[in-house]
Amino acid sequence: MLKIVHFVLAVILVFPVHALALDGAKLLREMDRNLSPESYESYRKLINIEPNGRKKEFTLFTVKKGLDKVASVFLAPASEKGRSTLRLGENMWLNIPNVGKPIRITSLQSVVGGVFNNADILQLDYAVEYDVTGVREEKGELLLHLKAKTKNVAYDRLKIRLDRNRTLPTSIECLTEANMVIKTLYFKNVRDFGGGIVRPEVIETDSPLYKGYKSVMIMAKIKKRTFKDEVFTLTFMPNLASLR
């Protein structure tokens, strides 16, 4: 009898943790799909804001396909127009029209300066790069702890605060392996973009490494669209704007 009681107690104690771990992975995939369809096109404006209020803006057209293919082309300002970026899994390239050939870039560099780096601008699904290591409820939100699947990912750990009703992030803390905060992304202004896409329109970010600086990403015209795989190749990079 005592053995049965111990077994039941053990199941009661262990099961919720196990169930939550499963739920965490499912929640992350759900969050990814709510943020964007698996394949889509969108327009984005990036604004870097300096402590004195001065701003620098960039406009990009972005296309994504499947889990690990994303590409962008700069539409403005004139100094950046025509530059394109491509990400295939952990590979990233930048094509500068004057320079002519795509060069490899790394996820921690930034093609726009400011707080956003290349991994933020060419973001894949979070579930592709991270495993959920824990889920708990805090202040009416869900807090997901994520760990990078490989050393090549820009941030070793993430802490995602999730609006449990919409399964959308409200903030994401990006941390190093030593748990030092590199930056925090704040997701704001949930908006209906049509086609069943309801997601935050604005992502703000700040960083203790760039005190007083802020970068903002505004989404527009995000919609489902499929592309041929050949679009996501180095050879196609100079022609990305033709997809608009």
């Binding site: 404006k45 001065r54 620098k56 490899r104 600086y213 050949e230 180095l234 050879t235």
Partner: protein, 434 residues
């Protein structure tokens, strides 16, 4: 409450940020992203330069032999680059026109206007594109040098990101994508004719050069194989690769095999002879981003068909003898012969065999956004002469680029950088994009 108390209270209420005011609103005007079938843009540049001359250097004596009191040259440079395109369905036309203006107190004013690119494209499928016209191909993975860029003009390693003039070609891109370790294959064939008024500076006349590049993205590594044949220039074959080995670390390399590469070398007495041999050129490099935002680019370049230290020394001695003869007799014939040899290869930016390139770029130091100081060193590892280039770049003003750069050359006599005409160069470059 007294009247003054009310006033202070109202003022405090006005000064305290209301929740609505504290929340910043951002505007994304959708008219900004409206697509037009045509586009037009441009770049204007002003670049004053001062050169500090080295009157004992061979290239000074070659170029300033009749003006030997000169210690500095002041130069004003201007550049206008206009580009435009029109797109309809799968077809597109594009042109980039470049005008360089130069004024200095030696050669006075000069102007050169060139179409850098002007071509038509048709893209019937995402996997197929055909181009015809003047175009830069830009093959290779190296930053400062590209030994496999068979169809391009030589890059200036002092300014490798500058736009370049192309050649008239007919070319295509055929792309296939796959799942698995081999993600992409593409093939780029290219035909380059050399005949009357067409690509006359490429090589032998009345020839048709055929070249091609086969690209693979295999196991997360870019790999290209290239070839060029056709009689205009000696046949050549090449391979390059590039790979990210971490979130902040990239490696790359290039190798080219040139059949029957030719050069003119001098013996110690100054007698010239033509040498023809197969040659190897290779480059190996890396790009590393440190946690404190310092980007390091390191490249080592070997050109088997470059000149040896002895061959360069013989050339410098030819100039010194010619200069001595000019000073003694007023006859510039010896210098004229040296000038011809200079044009054949001795005066190109990196004429010798082995070079090490190191570039350090610090992003946003002292919390100054868009400010990038950098330091570039090019070392001739054969004779240990060196070129050092500190640079300050600021891009914080919309569509403007401000660059202050110096270049200091150091080396013993009879060395590559020690015999250049300058001891130093200082330039300010202000560019506006529109």
């Amino acid at each position: 409450m007294s009247r003054s108390g009310w006033i202070i209270g109202v003022l405090l209420l006005c000064l305290l940020p209301s929740p609505a005011a504290a929340e910043e609103s951002y505007v994304f005007d959708l008219s900004e992203i409206e697509k037009k079938p045509y586009h037009f843009s441009g770049y204007l540049e002003a670049k004053p330069v001062v050169y500090g001359l080295d009157d004992r250097a061979a290239f000074y004596q070659l170029r300033f032999f009749n003006d030997s009191h000169r210690r500095t040259v002041w130069e004003a440079n201007g550049r206008v680059r206009l580009e435009g395109g029109y797109e309809k369905g799968p077809a597109r036309i594009f042109a980039r026109l470049n005008t360089d203006l130069q004024y200095n107190d030696k050669i006075h004013a000069s102007e050169k206007t060139t179409f850098y690119e002007a071509y038509a494209s048709v893209k019937p499928l995402p996997s197929l594109k055909i181009d015809a016209g003047k175009k830069t191909m830009k093959w290779g993975k190296g930053y400062a040098w590209n030994p496999v860029a068979f169809l391009d003009r030589p890059k200036n390693p002092d300014d490798p990101e500058q736009a370049m003039e192309g050649y008239i070609v007919a070319t295509a891109d055929v792309i296939r994508s796959f799942d698995g370790p081999l993600k992409t294959v593409s093939f780029t064939p290219a035909f380059l004719p050399v005949c009357n008024h067409v690509n006359t500076d490429f090589g032998n006349a009345d020839t048709l050069t055929f070249a091609g590049r086969l690209y693979f993205l295999l196991f997360d590594t870019d790999v290209d194989f290239m070839f060029m044949t056709g009689g205009s220039r000696p046949d050549r074959y090449g391979v390059d690769f590039s790979r990210n080995v971490g979130s902040n670390f990239e490696i790359h390399g290039e190798y080219a095999w040139l059949k029957s590469s030719r050069k003119i070398v001098l013996d110690p007495s100054g007698t010239a002879r033509r040498v023809e041999t197969d040659a190897h050129r290779f480059l190996i490099g890396l790009r590393y981003l440190a946690s404190f935002e310092l980007t390091t680019i390191v490249e080592f370049y070997h050109a088997g068909d470059g000149f040896t230290s002895d061959e360069m020394e013989n050339f410098f001695h030819l100039i010194h003898r010619g200069y001595g003869a000019y000073r003694a007799t007023g006859n510039p014939a010896g210098l004229g012969r040296a000038a011809q040899l200079a044009e054949s290869g001795y005066a190109r930016p990196n004429p010798m065999r082995n070079y090490l390139y190191v570039r350090l770029i610090q992003k946003d130091p002292f919390d100054i956004l868009y400010f990038s100081p950098s330091l570039t060193c090019m070392i001739n590892t054969d004779d240990l002469s060196v070129s050092v280039m500190p640079e300050l770049l600021y891009t914080g003003i919309a569509n403007m680029e401000l660059r202050l750069r110096a270049s200091v050359l150091a080396g013993a006599r009879d060395t590559d950088f020690g015999e250049k005409q300058n001891d130093y160069r200082i330039e300010l470059r202000a560019g506006i994009y529109f």
